[in-house]
């Protein structure tokens, strides 16, 4: 069993367990927030599963269409909906100027990744990551500035998790551009494991945010 297969299996198991937990909680509490997190996990899981099955049965990654990418990037969409759902009205109106660094960063990274990959996919990723980074950094800035209530402060964990998730994903994608070097490949797998750990942390972070 290769390192990649092992990490994929761990990530599949983690996302499957988290998906069942989040969807079950969503139904039990009739909570839209948990439903959105459950759908995030479900899509992440199915994107991973499709990718792993293609590797296992056909020995190569999908070559005609972006089925796994549809799963992964739609999962970002649900994460973005979750952050939007959690934010208070005041928080949505809070726009420090530093936030404009986010679209600049995501656009620059997209241009860099386009040297290695597809234009369309990288544009979509830049947009989705832009929204996630924007909302998480805005949430952290708002709750850290002392403007908010106790309920606002309770959302800090989920914002931290999303920020960590985005940063690690960017590190992983950057490492994947130089995968031919052995030490970089190890770094890539380390980032993949870090993503898996952050995926687990979402559960407790949302629990705290919704409880308050």
């Amino acid at each position: 069993m290769t390192t990649e297969t092992l990490i994929n299996l761990i990530q599949l198991a983690v996302t499957a367990v988290c998906m069942v937990f989040a969807l079950h909680t969503a139904v039990k509490r009739e909570s839209r927030e948990w439903a959105l997190l459950g759908l995030f996990y479900a899509l992440f899981f199915m994107g991973d599963l499709y990718w792993s099955l293609m590797l296992a049965f056909y020995g190569n990654t999908p070559s005609y269409f972006y089925v796994s990418e549809i799963g992964w990037y739609s999962s970002y969409l649900f994460l973005d909906l979750l952050l939007r759902q959690l934010a208070s009205v005041e928080e949505k109106e809070y726009r420090p100027k530093a936030l404009w660094a986010v679209p600049v960063f995501t656009a620059a990274m997209a241009v860099f990744y386009m040297q290695y990959g597809d234009y369309m996919i990288n544009t979509i990723v830049a947009l989705l990551m832009g929204f996630l980074l924007w909302r998480s950094i805005r949430g952290l800035a708002y709750t850290g500035s002392g403007h908010g209530t106790a309920a606002d402060a309770a959302r800090r964990r989920i914002y931290l998790c999303v920020l960590a998730f985005c940063v690690i994903e960017y590190c992983e994608w950057t490492a994947s551009c130089f995968m031919s070097k052995e030490d970089v490949a190890l770094l890539y797998f380390a980032f993949d494991m870090a993503v898996t750990l952050v995926l687990i942390l979402y559960i407790s972070a949302l629990g705290k945010a919704v409880q308050e």
Partner: protein, 211 residues
Amino acid sequence: MTYIENIYACLAAPLLIAIICLKGKPRTSLMFILGGMTACLLSSYISSFFAVMTGADALGASLEISPVVEELMKIAPIIFWLMVYEPHKMEVSIEIVITAVGFATFENVCYLTSNGAASLRHTIIRGFGTGAMHIVCGLIIAFGLLYLWDRLYLRVTGTLGLVAAAITYHAVYNILVSQTGAAFVIGCLIPMISVVLMLLLIRTRIERYHF
């Protein structure tokens, strides 16, 4: 060679007459069955077009192109309905499943015309496997929308995300049933297991809405 247009004309004719004769909810439901069948017919053309465009073989098209095209086409009649009218969320959820029924029925008829119906085992596997899979894909979107209906941004982006969930589910099913042995058996069982799990998970919600 299967003349799917001829099969479509034969199956659509009585539905069309019934649609003209009936009124109210039965008419709407029959329209969505016809919509699902039309979506299936168009999907086969569009999938073939993309397969030729990308140079995919039959297996590649079935694993990577068909799930995307079929799920997008399946939701098309509902999107049109949503844009023209303002239906209630329960009505939308029910009609999504009915569209999936129309789609699965037409696909099964075409499959039986091409492959014959001599083996009961194969027809049952087809019915409870691929047929049920289409219904599960419809249920994913239908139940998801019940949670994401209230606000417009949730409804629009949520529908997109739920269609993506249906696409990946469909693609995973197609990979599994393209194998032999244990993977094939798991693939055939997944739709029915999914139906049971979904019913268990959302039993209370179904009871409340009389779904």
